[in-house]
């Protein structure tokens, strides 16, 4: 039986040929992707050493820590919450990784320590948000301060140096010609993407973030969904910390300072809505890569140090303006 005439004509209002492109443009990460391509082209023209496989790989290596954390924070934001404690959390996990690494060596034990520390911190965030019913911005703002305090109290301000080489493989080694940080980031992306699209939790994240009341009416386990997202952030920060320690070779007490805003920037520039419920797992990766490309490209083009922050800001604004432009063209929500 056919549908109502008027409804059918709604479908006819858009010409069939543009439909595929239009669909694609409606995806949340489309504007950032377009802007990324434009930027890549621009930098390639401006700096001849930019578009080399080696340089492109090193951009990915540089954004791996940011990208991995953003992948998880993206889930929290999709679920309608926020986590701004990741900077301090990274510092704390790095301390855990470094401490265990200098004590036992090896890769697995430090990695496990980092992940366990992260999950613990993430679970505290999650429990305070769900059971304590405190808004996540306050919980994680508090944790941003509190965890930084913990780091200073635990380390007494000294760095952890001389991380053994076998711990550093996750930061430095290559697998089949690809640096491990890149490998890990893409593996985690594939996992999160699959989970996000094909698991109950992954879908519930969207529902919980999109309409909390309706989610409750539908009987979704709202608290468990959010708790898991916060714990996931912890786990990913733990993995990222191991890469961080591997790449840096030592642990500073201020490791991760200011990271929280970069992570949020990566997520929202990528196209996930800060209001929750709208976005994709690809968004944070594109956002992180975009930031990495800007930072790298500026140096290769030779932007003076004092002007780099201004250029970064201007390009971020341009990137988000692309989204506004898209909305003018094909509609869709902010």
């Amino acid at each position: 039986m056919s549908g109502v005439g008027a409804l059918r004509s709604v479908g006819l209002r858009t010409a069939p040929t543009t439909r595929g492109l239009r669909r694609w443009l409606l995806r949340p990460e489309a504007p950032a992707a377009v802007f990324l391509v434009v930027l890549l082209a621009a930098f390639s023209l401006a700096a001849d050493r930019f578009l080399t496989p080696d340089n492109l790989e090193s951009i990915l290596v540089q954004v791996a820590v940011l990208g991995i954390i953003a992948l998880a924070v993206n889930q929290v934001i999709l679920a309608g919450e926020i986590d701004i404690s990741v900077g301090s959390m990274l510092g704390l996990c790095a301390v855990a990784v470094g401490t265990v690494a200098t004590a036992t060596g090896g890769l697995l034990a430090p990695l496990a320590a980092g992940v366990a520390t992260g999950v613990l911190a993430g679970a505290v965030n999650g429990l305070l948000v769900t059971l304590g019913r405190i808004p996540s911005i306050i919980v994680t703002l508090g944790m941003l301060y509190a965890l930084r305090g913990v780091i200073l109290l635990v380390t007494g301000g000294t760095w952890i140096t001389q991380i053994p080489d076998e711990t550093r493989v996750l930061g430095l080694a290559k697998l089949a010609g690809v640096s491990l940080p890149v490998f890990v980031m893409f593996a985690l992306f594939l996992i999160v993407n699959a989970v996000s699209r094909n698991s109950t939790w992954g879908r519930d994240v969207f529902a919980v973030g999109g309409n909390r009341r309706a989610a409750r009416l539908a009987g979704l386990a709202i608290d468990r969904t959010r708790l898991l997202a916060f714990a996931l952030v912890g786990a990913f920060v733990g993995i990222a910390a191991t890469i961080y320690v591997g790449r840096a070779g030592s642990v500073q007490t201020n490791a991760g300072e200011g990271l929280e805003l970069q992570v949020i920037a990566a997520v929202v520039i990528g196209g996930t809505s800060i209001a929750g419920g709208r976005g994709s797992a690809l968004a944070p990766v594109i956002g992180a890569v975009l930031i990495g490309v800007i930072l790298n490209g500026m140096i290769l083009v030779g932007v003076p140090g004092v002007w780099q922050s201004a250029v970064l800001g201007a390009l971020i604004l341009l990137a988000v303006t692309t989204d506004a432009l898209r909305r003018r063209l094909v509609g869709g929500a902010a």
Partner: protein, 536 residues
């Protein structure tokens, strides 16, 4: 008699036998209080297999509250909920659903960012592939099938936010019908539907009851109630008034029970002398929504706009009001062009708008009733730049009395009011600015008979005061009885303009669907659903 009524007739008969079964669920002496307000007090209510048990009552009578008690949304303060003869304690909607009770809630709570297909499956077992991943293709296929059964077809992969209100409502119906529920509770399921979609719903109800499923049906449209209901329960001020087989009651009796007194005939407007042109719309266009709309409304005239879902009526009204940007065309009030990009400018020019979505567009729920009513006229209520609260209160009290807003004082949050009373607050707000042109988009949606006739009277009064009124409504009867002139929209264009005399149900439907319906009234052999679906 319309085609819908005819098909209803046959239904009632084959269900008569079902009445002997034990109840699917029973509420025994339930009471529910909210702070000081007793929403439901010591009410008994039950639902049997295969019957349609309707609930009627004025706004705020406690209908929604009562069904939320079996829906697992509220726990009764007193009394018991029994399912299949056993006392149950639902702590969430999920419990209730597990017990075989499905709910179509009054408020359209959907996941706007998710696709229609996914919306149907949230919180449910989703089809999976052998290796555990979700089977999207099957989900979409089943969604299409489910919606197809309700006679609609739209892109189930697109986010729900791109659907019209009517389609959203159909989504919720489809969602409730997905499981194998023993009972389906429908809280004003047709409030956003035109008669055509409503007719499809009735056919579905028919099929459900034939399978032994029980249906609780809440509606303010008494005509519908008498068409579908086997039994009717009347509530008043949270109390049970009477439960009786539909055959033992008639509309007058029900209305009398609802309001506690007998009510005059439903209000109908007489003819009126129209004055000068008040509102003139020329060539207004928003591509994809509506095109080249011309419209004139005179002082003292009520122009009804009818049409199917997605005909573009809401968009048109909102563009005239400046909420949406017009692409082309102009709007004049009393011959003066109106700036087309801000509601403030439209209001300045004397246009008022009552939006169709009460909660999201009409009200600031945490605000008090007074603050809602005064929101558009704060400038006028201010002295030396500060809001004069005395004046604000007096204005609000005036409207509360004039429109009989019941349930809370004007200094209380508007969220404490029942749906219908909230609607009156929205009306009050648009009237506060003293508009010469009033655009009413589904002004009686979810409003009880009493209030409805008050609103009709109000519209009549406003018109006789010389205001120009545009009445958009999906209730054909409403348009036909209230309008001096009827415009019919189809696919974003005006497909017919009918005078009061020319406007009959058949002609409006024909113009709305683009299909000529036989003038012969005896054509009910074809149910309306079938008759309009012959196109293409």
């Amino acid at each position: 008699m319309s085609a819908i009524e005819a098909s209803a007739q046959s239904r009632v008969e084959h269900r008569a036998a079902a009445a002997v079964h034990p109840p699917i669920f029973r509420l025994a002496g339930v009471t529910k209080r909210f702070g000081g307000v007793t929403a439901v007090e010591a009410v008994d209510f039950d639902l049997r297999r295969g019957e349609v048990h309707a609930q009627v009552g004025e706004n705020g009578a406690g209908k929604s509250t009562l069904v939320k008690l079996v829906g697992g949304l509220y726990v009764p303060d007193e009394g018991r909920v029994e399912v299949g003869g056993e006392v149950v304690q639902f702590s969430s909607p999920r419990d209730s659903e597990a017990a075989g009770i499905a709910m179509i809630p009054q408020e359209l709570d959907l996941f706007l960012e998710l696709s229609a297909a996914e919306n149907l499956f949230v919180g449910r077992r989703r089809p999976r592939r052998p290796w555990g991943a979700l089977d999207w293709r099957q989900m979409e296929a089943r969604a299409r099938e489910q919606l197809g059964a309700l006679g609609v077809e739209f892109d189930v992969e697109a986010p729900v936010e791109r659907l019209s209100m009517a389609n959203r409502q159909i989504m919720l119906i489809a969602k409730a019908l997905m499981g194998d529920a023993a009972a389906v509770v429908m809280d004003e399921p047709t409030s956003s539907l035109t008669e055509r979609e409503a007719a499809r719903l009735f056919r579905i109800i028919d099929e459900l009851t034939a399978r032994g499923v029980g249906v609780v049906y809440i509606s303010h449209r008494l005509g519908e109630v008498f068409m579908v209901a086997d039994r009717i329960t009347v509530l008043r001020d949270g109390q049970h008034v009477r439960t009786a087989p539909a055959s033992e009651l008639d509309s007058e009796e029900v209305v009398r029970l609802m309001v506690g007194r007998s009510l005059d005939e439903l209000f109908s407007r007489g003819g009126h002398e129209a004055g000068d042109v008040a509102l003139e719309v020329r060539g207004l266009t928003r591509t994809g929504e509506f095109e080249d709309i011309d419209l004139t409304v005179r002082h003292g005239e009520v122009v009804g706009i009818a049409g199917l879902i997605g005909a573009g009526r809401t968009e048109l009204a909102q563009t005239i009001f400046g909420v949406r940007a017009a692409e082309r065309g102009e709007v004049l009030v009393d011959g003066e062009p109106v700036e087309l990009d801000s509601p403030a400018a439209a209001m300045e020019a004397g246009i008022g708008y009552v939006p169709e979505e009460r909660q999201s567009q009409g009200l600031v729920l945490p605000f008090t009733i007074a603050a809602n009513i005064s929101l558009s006229i704060l400038g006028r209520l201010s002295r030396l730049g500060f809001v004069a609260s005395q004046r604000e209160r007096e204005t609000a009290d005036g409207f509360a009395e004039q429109l009989a807003i019941r349930g809370a004082r004007v200094s209380e949050p508007v969220s404490r009011l029942s749906g219908g009373n909230q609607q009156k607050v929205v009306l009050a707000k648009s009237l506060a600015g003293g508009p010469q042109v009033l655009l009413l988009d589904e002004p009686t949606r979810g409003v009880d008979v009493g209030a409805k006739s008050e609103i009709y009277r109000l519209i009549d009064r406003l018109a006789s005061e010389g205001r120009a009124i545009v009445l958009i409504s999906s209730e054909l009867e409403e348009v036909l009885s209230m309008a001096d002139r009827v415009l019919v929209m189809r696919e974003g264009r005006v497909s017919a303009e009918l005078s009061r005399e020319e406007a009959t149900q058949e002609r409006v439907i024909a113009a709305a669907t683009g299909v000529a319906v036989g003038e012969d009234e005896g054509a009910e052999g074809a149910a309306p659903a079938a008759s309009v679906d012959t196109e293409r």
